[in-house]
């Protein structure tokens, strides 16, 4: 049995060994995650090995908005959202549903936030390769928003999530 603890990132968490295979995400964890958190720019949540406090997966959430330019949507010109900015799973712990667990947590944390300051969407960016996986193969409530060069932006409607929990 491998016991894990879910916790906010803090200075006691061992992050040096973490490698998710994406250098940008590794660098973020090593150089910016704690700094951003201390500056209240983003919040990082982790799964750590309970016996050693070593991080094996994490996600980062922050508040953001979609700008509607000159137009309006529901009478407003900025849609408040939660951005799932980073999610990384250590290579030694891939394919163990840690990513799904973290998305579940992102939904709950976003819902919690929406009850206090209001935010409508949880936004993620994935590769074009994974776009069809999230939109067609799994039923996690993802909806398509926009493609970029090699990626796709998807969202989950937090209102819809809240309405369907009972």
């Amino acid at each position: 049995m491998t016991d894990l603890i879910f916790k906010e990132l803090d200075r006691d968490v061992i992050i040096e060994t973490f490698n998710c295979g994406d250098q940008a995400i590794n660098n973020f964890l090593n150089n910016l995650a704690l700094l951003n958190q201390e500056q209240k720019l983003s919040k990082t949540y982790t799964f750590c090995l309970k016996n050693s406090n070593t991080i094996i997966a994490f996600l980062t959430l922050s508040a953001s908005q979609l700008n509607t330019g000159d137009a309006r949507i529901f009478g407003i010109d900025k849609v408040p959202i939660v951005l799932l900015g980073r999610l990384g799973v250590d290579n030694n712990y891939k394919n163990k549903k840690l990513g799904v667990a973290l998305i579940n947590i992102a939904l709950e944390k976003s819902l919690e936030a929406s009850k206090i300051i209001a935010c409508r969407l949880l936004l993620v960016e994935t590769t074009l390769d994974m776009k069809s996986y999230y939109l067609e193969k799994v039923n996690m409530g993802f909806e398509w928003f926009r493609d970029r060069k090699n990626t796709s932006i998807l969202f989950i409607d937090l209102k819809k999530y809240e309405e369907n929990l009972q």
């Binding site: 994406d22 330019g69 137009a71 799932l84 579940n104 960016e125 409607d157 819809k160």
Partner: protein
């Protein structure tokens, strides 16, 4: 969220592996007129399929169990998700 220029550069060179997410927040997202119309339709549509509803419920229950267990969980339990 702060993103360093180096981070952005590294990002371009690396292929994101399947379980990772990286949001490029270096540019503000400004919706086009078409995107506004599409988004409004999607947000007004309250229909949801049974599989997604089931996922939403299981996601919520997973977090409740995590809270009840004081945020301790085994990797084996997560694998059952």
């Amino acid at each position: 969220m702060m993103t360093t220029p180096k981070e952005k550069e590294v990002k371009k060179e690396e292929k994101v592996s399947e379980e990772n997410f990286f949001f490029d927040d270096s540019e503000e997202i400004i919706l086009t007129e078409q995107e506004i119309q599409d988004l409004e339709k999607k947000l007004e549509n309250r229909e949801i399929d049974d599989k997604t509803r089931s996922y939403f419920k299981s996601s919520h229950q997973f977090f409740k169990r995590l809270e009840e267990n004081e945020y301790s969980i085994s990797l084996e339990e997560i694998e059952k998700l």
